[in-house]
């Protein structure tokens, strides 16, 4: 009898198997045949592959079920065979293993994108995974092996399903590409945090990168998860040779990498594409009786968006949670949101992250009926609000509701790891909320509240908080994933209450708990709320506060927080404080609700809309600027042009890419269009005139058109001659228009030769304007060869080139 697989992984580094699909093909499975169906039609072939890996030394073998889900099997007309194929696959693997190796049920992605990239809903994905995993688990797999996932939400659906059907361990792998990110942008640390929180016993990576590329992925994961680490690299990067994909890493090289992975803390190593029994044999030699490296991973609260992890460290708190996305108290935001105007929510999300929020609270408890816009279920609003916020910022989400349904709906949408606000001692909802937190891998805020109301003394609050905490721990929530709120009451109602809150906070800290509080309550009903909030925050930070829910637009609060962090030893060397002082404006702008917008705020709003590519949202910002009496030309020169400069700078730093740059240019164009209506015959100042043309013979002009749009928005006057333009016409227009510069585009090798003809024609006529060229097949060398003055690879580069050529 073998010990459970996780026990074995604690004792030694286990060796997995290698590629399955190519081995089946080598064994005679025709190209294009369903590899999973082979368990029914060619069982001996499948068992043979397992046996070859077992002979080579594999201790964990994967079932031939990577694509055995209803969606992928449907491509072969086998959607009804999910259960039979998965059961049979486990049976064959167990038969081969003879009780001497572990059988891991392989589960791959569904082959369909989840919304919003595709049409598949989260729940449909969970159901599809559940069907496959139930069959694998019931047939006796020792573990479920999720592999080659690239969308973190699809992996989340798979883990949610896995926990619903069985308690067997789950090994969860994601696949990383360029820049060590998954296709949907998730870095390894986020993947490790999210998968671990969702209950994966081992996390890791397979496929895509060769072993070299996977080392940094594993190292990044090792820093943030206490789960086992697992890695199944390809035998090198795929290369296409004579139409066939080949992998060049030798068995000896893979064995050397197996050792390096073991040294990095991995406790399960196998192979993916291109790995053969020969590779596995060599790796077995390298790993024989190797003990896993002990890793010390600090227990920290980690929240994630799809692309970023926020960690609460004792040395860096408090975490700032922005409170302004709140449909239950902000009637205008709620009314707009229910009426499908998401701009106020987006604005609040963007502004709060810019102002320093680390995470954003989302409360969608709008009472549509009392707002006169009809009732909408809170769960629907919550799901929509989470989607909207995730679209515009990369801050983790705090789902805020007392309704378990609304929280679950929000958590299904979350692309990273969320915090639940909040769980109370309410006997009815507490078990449900804890189950939801566990199912979706969320951290929780605990409130010491019960049906009997708020405990009056600190000791009673502590007692009640610890009762809820004990239930949470029993439900499997880890202590570092709990924040306790000592409850802030209004000083106006009872002046002793802030003291009780602080006393509770100190008692909680003395017992090692992490704390959070909702700041603004303290000043309710009093004037100068900002001062009271700031003073209370300073006292709470002094008492050890770990996180605060507040309005990050309140400059006094944020300045006080930065100062308090220095005094509480949470800002080593006062570095962030000093940086904050240097970056802060001389006079704090008034809070949002307090008065009229200033030019500085309007400029910021325009910049935010342009950077976000919000072509609709930019118009109200322009209106606001006009309403302040700023002349249209001034808006252009002092607000839109600098915003475009910022866009260009970000493009050059590769923080944004061409599509975002074009979208930003179009956003400026929308702003221009609005300004033109006010200009009454005035003209925008021109930075120069450029003749643009796609040369004779070429009708592909999208690239040139994009360049025209971008240049126009940078203030250049464009004479667009269109496509398929003869050299003579270009030369005539160059002379007639008095252009400063000529831009030529061609897509084909055959048509780019026309560029040379155009330049010759210009020179023949004695025209001296400079010429720039571009297009898919054009190169800098070719540009030089034909006597062009400059070359731009795309519309992103063209602005810089034009500035250079025009000497500005």
């Amino acid at each position: 009898m073998m010990k459970p697989i996780l026990d074995a992984m604690r004792e030694r580094v286990l060796l997995g198997d290698g590629a399955m699909g190519t081995m089946l093909q080598d064994g005679g499975l025709p190209d294009g045949a369903c590899p999973e169906e082979a368990v029914l039609s060619r069982p001996a072939l499948v068992v043979g592959v397992h046996e070859r890996y077992l002979e080579a030394g594999a201790e964990v073998i994967e079932t031939d079920t990577f694509g055995a889900n209803c969606r992928k099997l449907a491509d072969y007309g086998l959607a009804g065979e999910v259960e039979r194929i998965n059961r049979e696959a486990v049976r064959l693997a167990r038969k081969a293993a003879l009780g001497k190796a572990y059988v891991a049920g392989s589960v791959g992605p569904l082959g369909a994108q989840l919304a919003p990239l595709g049409a598949l809903t989260f729940q449909e994905a969970v159901e599809a995974f559940r069907e496959q995993m139930r069959a694998l688990a019931h047939a006796g797999a020792d573990a479920l092996f999720l592999e080659t996932f690239s969308d973190i939400r699809e992996a989340k659906a798979a883990l949610v399903a896995a926990r619903e059907v069985s308690g067997i361990p789950v090994i969860a792998h994601m696949t990383f590409g360029e820049e060590n990110r998954t296709f949907s942008g998730t870095p390894p640390d986020v993947a490790a945090v999210v998968l671990t929180a969702l209950g994966a016993a081992a996390v890791g990576t397979n496929c895509s990168l060769g072993p070299e590329g996977m080392l940094p992925v594993i190292e990044a994961m090792a820093k943030v998860t206490r789960a086992h680490l697992s890695v199944f690299p390809n035998a090198g990067l795929p290369e296409l040779v004579d139409g066939k994909t080949v992998f060049r890493k030798s068995p000896a090289e893979m064995a050397a990498f197996a050792e390096r992975f073991a040294a990095a803390g991995v406790s399960l190593v196998g192979g993916c594409c291109g790995t053969t029994p020969a590779h596995i044999r060599a790796m077995a030699g390298a790993l024989a009786r190797r003990k896993p490296v002990k890793r010390a991973v600090p227990e920290r609260l980690r929240l994630c968006s799809r692309t970023r992890t926020v960690t609460l460290d004792p040395g860096n708190g408090p975490l700032v949670i922005g409170e302004r996305i709140n449909l239950s108290v902000r009637a205008s935001m709620a009314r707009a949101f229910i009426g499908d105007d998401t701009a106020p929510v987006r604005d609040a999300a963007i502004a709060q992250t810019r102002e320093g929020a680390h995470a954003l609270d989302v409360n969608a408890g709008a009472h549509g009926e009392s707002l006169g816009v009809g009732a909408v279920p809170e769960a629907d609003l919550m799901a929509r609000a989470v989607r909207v916020v995730q679209r515009c910022v990369d801050a983790p989400i705090v789902v805020d509701s007392s309704s378990p349904d609304a929280l679950a709906a929000g958590l299904r949408e979350v692309e990273g790891r969320a915090l639940i606000n909040s769980v109370t001692a309410d006997k009815e909802t507490m078990p449900r909320l804890l189950a939801i937190a566990r199912a979706y891998g969320a951290a929780i805020i605990i409130l010491p509240l019960s049906g009997k109301g708020i405990p009056e003394t600190a000791a009673r609050r502590l007692k009640l908080a610890e009762e809820v905490t004990a239930s949470a721990l029993r439900a499997g929530i880890r202590p570092e994933d709990i924040l306790i709120d000592p409850l802030v009451m209004a000083a106006a109602a009872a002046q002793d209450q802030p003291g009780v809150t602080l006393e509770t906070l100190r008692m909680l800290k003395a017992r090692g708990w992490q704390t959070v509080l909702g700041l603004s309550n303290v000043s309710h009903g009093l004037p100068e709320r900002s001062s009271l909030n700031a003073a209370f925050l300073a006292m709470a930070v002094g008492a050890g506060l770990d996180a605060v829910i507040c309005n990050p637009a309140d400059e006094l609060v944020m300045r006080t927080l930065r100062a308090a962090r220095v005094l509480a030893m949470k800002d080593a060397g006062a570095r962030e404080f000093i940086a904050g002082v240097q970056a802060a404006p001389a006079a704090p702008p008034p809070p949002e609700e307090a008065g009229a917008p200033t030019p500085a705020r309007v400029r910021e709003r325009l910049l935010a809309a342009i950077l976000a590519g919000d072509r609709d949202g930019v118009i109200p910002a322009v209106e606001e600027a006009l309403a302040q009496g700023i002349p249209p030309i001034e808006i252009n020169v002092s607000m839109l042009a600098p915003a475009l400069e910022e866009v260009g700078a970000r493009f050059e730093r590769r923080e944004i890419f061409l599509p975002q740059m074009i979208l930003a240019a179009e956003t400026v164009q929308a702003a221009f269009a609005r300004l033109r209506r006010e200009m009454k015959g005035e003209r925008m100042p021109s930075r120069g005139r450029i003749v643009m043309a796609t040369v004779l013979g070429d009708v592909h002009d999208i690239g040139k058109n994009i360049c025209c749009t971008v240049l126009e928005n940078y203030g250049y006057e464009i004479v667009d001659l269109g496509r398929n333009v003869p050299a003579e016409v270009i030369a005539e227009q160059a002379a007639a228009s008095g252009a400063n510069l000529i831009g030529l585009s061609a897509l084909m090798t055959t048509t780019m030769r026309q560029m040379e003809t155009v330049i010759a024609e210009l020179r023949r006529r004695g025209l001296t304007q400079r010429v720039m060229v571009g297009g898919a097949v054009v190169t800098p060398a070719y540009a030089r060869k034909i006597g062009a003055d400059g070359y731009a690879r795309n519309a992103g580069e063209i602005v810089r080139l034009v500035k250079r050529l025009m000497g500005s």
Binding site: R181, G185, G243, R391, C392, F657, P659, L663, A665, M748
Partner: protein, 207 residues
């Protein structure tokens, strides 16, 4: 496989569309407004494409001196590059593939309306989609060739190397590409815009 190819199913990976737009395949920055535009563009692209392909497998009569002629047709390829590619082959397959006019028309309308971002996304999708059509055809050919004891060479298209674009009308004729609506304009550029022609050779496994 000869004639109009039926039952074509293509799949275009969002990563490929991102790559074509210069965003890398990771999509690291494909969040926010642009991410949702791309998602919508890909959805629209899926609806707008009408994949169609035609192919003709023909026996190579003579392949020498930079000229390839084919048995039973007057069709000739004058290109040292193609002749080099087809030198070890007994036969070759011409392929014509398109995603139809719908996508290009929609992209053109978007450009005319100055919705450049949407036009660019749709255009990138179209480029990937027509490649996917050719890939699907080549995959089918590969199976057929494999069963008959052949492997395929890589594919080569007019306009590349020394095979002039002016060969397009001849290739289209030899294929009967009018059956799927592909034509060449006066400058030999294909319409619909997202169309491709190519040739590849069959190499006997025994050689």
């Amino acid at each position: 496989m000869s004639g109009v190819v039926t039952g074509l199913e293509i799949s275009v990976a969002p990563a490929a569309v991102l790559r074509r737009m210069g965003m890398g395949s990771s999509g690291a920055r494909g969040a926010g407004e642009i991410g949702s535009l791309i998602a919508r563009g890909i959805e629209a692209g899926r609806r707008l494409v009408a994949p169609a392909a035609v192919c003709a497998t023909i026996v190579i009569e003579r392949c020498a001196g930079g000229v390839v002629s084919f048995e039973g047709t007057g069709f000739v390829i004058r290109s040292a590059d193609v002749a080099g590619l087809l030198a070890p082959c007994a036969r070759a397959t011409l392929i014509g593939a398109t995603v139809g006019q719908g996508l290009s028309s929609a992209s053109g309308r978007l450009m005319a309306g100055k919705a450049m971002t949407e036009a660019m996304i749709l255009d990138a999708y179209g480029s990937e989609a027509v490649e996917a059509v050719v890939d699907a055809v080549v995959e089918g050919l590969g199976r057929e060739a494999g069963a008959a004891g052949f492997t395929l060479t890589r594919r080569f298209s007019p306009g590349y190397g020394d095979w002039p674009l002016s060969s397009q009308p001849g290739v289209l004729d030899a294929l009967g590409a009018a059956r799927i609506g592909i034509a060449a304009g006066p400058e030999c550029i294909l319409a619909p815009e997202k169309s491709v022609t190519a040739v590849l050779g069959w190499v006997s496994r025994d050689t």
